[in-house]
């Protein structure tokens, strides 16, 4: 899957290749599961913890699911909060998991305000300096990043993984 990610980042692979690779991987894991269970306790070391979710009011999940998949196969422990996630749920999840990276996903323009409110809720809970926050989605750019108070935005799934790696390595 590392090769798939690299090829995607280089522009040789496209989203359907990620989806198809995921499908192949799922098939392999299903076949191997009994053996994997027998060998439990040898779980690979994880790079870091990431919380992700589509922000309040937005129910789109294709983009978010791709990021979750790429984070997972890249070695992160991912807490996926799902879609239409209220700000408080992100705050609670940070407290519960001690994740250092938060990724806010949103496809619609209504997500701009939800992202801003989520960043503010994290700040209000006193957790802003404990986490790095990135945003992502088709409409996201520097204007939205500045508006929401996030630390960065990722253009696609691999950009999200690269940012997370950089942040985890640096903290």
């Amino acid at each position: 899957m590392n090769i798939v990610g690299q090829r995607f980042a280089k522009g040789e692979y496209f989203i359907p290749d990620l989806v198809f690779s995921g499908e192949i991987l799922k098939g392999i894991v299903q076949k191997l599961e009994p053996k994997l269970k027998a060998a439990k306790g040898k779980e690979a070391k994880r790079l870091g913890k990431v919380i992700i979710g589509t922000v309040a009011g937005d129910i789109h999940d294709i983009g978010k699911d791709l990021v979750v998949f790429m984070l997972d196969v890249s070695g992160f422990e991912v807490t996926d909060l799902g879609i239409d996630v209220p700000a408080q749920k992100f705050v609670d999840a940070i407290k519960k998991t001690n994740s250092t990276v938060v990724e806010l996903s949103g496809f619609l323009t209504l997500a701009f305000d939800s992202m801003k409110e989520t960043v503010e809720a994290i700040k209000k809970a006193g957790l802003r300096d404990k986490v790095k926050i990135m945003i992502g989605g088709g409409q996201i750019d520097d204007y939205v990043k500045n508006y929401t108070g996030a630390d960065a935005f990722g253009k696609d799934a691999m950009a999200g993984v690269s940012l997370a790696k950089k942040w985890v390595g640096g903290m």
Binding site: F14, I15, P16, D17, V19, F20, E23, A56, G57, D58, I59, H60, D61, I62, D84, L108, T109, L110, F112, D113, G138, Q139, I140, D141, Y143, V144, N146, Y147, D156
Partner: protein, 400 residues
């Protein structure tokens, strides 16, 4: 017509409103979807106050609440019904046609839609699956087989709901017709009167889902191509008939799954572009102007999609590189859009003017550009930003 690439007096302003008009008029998205009079008043105000050059009729795209509710549409969450009262309605992604149903779809799309698809996606019409296979009920079997489900109470109830939804639909159509007439009297022409789809999107959006159609390109490419071939003339016929019925010879074609990153160039040239091109060329041949919304970033597709007759279509772009778009399409296809939602929602009025200036300087140079938001005017746009964009364009966008 700027689509003919002549130089107009100034850059035309065609703003597509989805829920922006409703929000500007002070009503919630839920009210907009259920109350025809309130939506009418809000939209009128948003057209007249901003004095735009081309508007879109909001009723067919927004006044859907009663029908969605009566028919129990499983594919949509709408304000007050799964999303907040002030949020736009949203499509629930799903595999509404399974992979093993391709043959049924290809062999007889009408039968598939009537007896499998509709009962699956519209809860109230689930009993339609009781209908017999209609071409199989011929001669006297027609008399014997066809009436059977109509004797069943649940089928009858479904028909009653359908009739009720039909009455609501008729209200929307009559409101829409009256509104168009009123707008014509005030001197505002509509942006389009017909809608078409890229055949790949039609299959991917409504039937197989994004994941399903992406896997199909690897796992069953022949079936996918066969389904695309089957449905292309259907989409073309629908788009032409709608344009002729409305009397507005402009067809809106919003695109979803062919953008950069969403498929390889080879996949684009195999699964996406040929059938879409056929739709575009047929519309042009019938004197209908295609207004094609290339969502996302389509910069890598520009050379390919430039290959259509000169001065006959509008390409509306979202995140495609404006400089490259102008270089490749100048003198070939009129360009629309490109004003970022992010700037309209989160920027300052000065940000808006700065961006607008770049657009007019680069894309507007020598004509062939129509101002619009990158995906229309976002629901959450600041009204003062929309006003700044229009005021600036009316002044700076004049061709001397």
């Amino acid at each position: 017509m700027p689509s003919q690439l002549k130089v107009p007096d100034r850059v035309p302003i065609a703003l597509l409103y989805n829920f922006f008009g409703a929000k500007y008029g002070g009503i919630t998205c839920e009210e907009a979807m259920y109350d025809l009079d309130k939506l009418e008043a809000a939209t009128r105000k948003a057209i007249v106050d901003f004095d735009i050059d081309l508007y879109n009729d909001p009723f067919g795209a927004i006044s859907l609440g009663p029908m969605l509710e009566i028919l129990d549409d499983k594919r949509v969450k709408w304000p007050g019904h799964g999303v907040p009262v002030d949020a736009t309605y949203q499509y629930v992604e799903g595999e509404y046609m399974t992979a093993d149903e391709y043959d049924a779809f290809i062999n007889d799309p009408t039968d598939y839609v009537l007896r499998t698809h509709i009962p699956r996606v519209l809860g109230a019409l689930e009993p339609l699956k009781m209908l017999p296979y209609l071409p199989g009920a011929y001669y006297l079997a027609l008399d014997l087989l066809l009436p059977v489900p109509f004797a069943m109470p649940e089928f009858f109830l479904a028909l009653e709901k359908l009739a009720k939804a039909g009455q609501e639909s008729l209200k929307v159509f009559s409101k829409s017709a009256a509104f168009r007439q009123e707008m014509a009297g005030l001197g505002y022409p509509p942006m389009f009167g017909s809608v078409g789809w890229a055949p790949f999107d039609y299959i991917g959006d409504f039937y197989r889902g994004t994941r399903g159609v992406m896997l199909d390109m690897y796992q069953r490419p022949d079936k996918l191509l066969e389904a695309i071939d089957k449905i292309t003339p259907v989409i073309i016929k629908g788009a032409i008939e709608m344009a002729q019925q409305s009397g507005i010879l402009k067809c809106f074609i919003p695109l979803h799954k062919g953008l950069d990153g969403f498929m390889s160039p080879t996949q684009f040239n195999t699964f996406y572009w040929p059938s879409l091109k056929k739709l575009i060329l047929t519309l042009i041949d019938r004197n209908i102007c295609p207004i094609v919304l290339w969502e996302g970033d389509c910069t890598s597709r520009l050379e390919t999609i430039a290959d259509i007759p000169r001065g006959k279509a509008v390409y509306w772009f979202e995140r495609t590189d404006m400089q490259r778009a102008k270089e490749v399409l100048d003198g070939q296809v009129c360009i629309m859009g490109l004003m970022p939602s992010s700037v309209l929602c989160t920027g300052s009025q000065q940000d808006v003017r700065d961006y607008c200036k770049r657009l007019i300087d680069v894309v507007g140079k020598g004509g062939g550009y129509i101002l619009n938001g990158d995906i229309g005017i976002p629901d959450e746009a600041k009204p003062e930003n929309v006003k700044a964009m229009i005021d600036f364009t009316k002044e700076y966008g004049v061709y001397k």
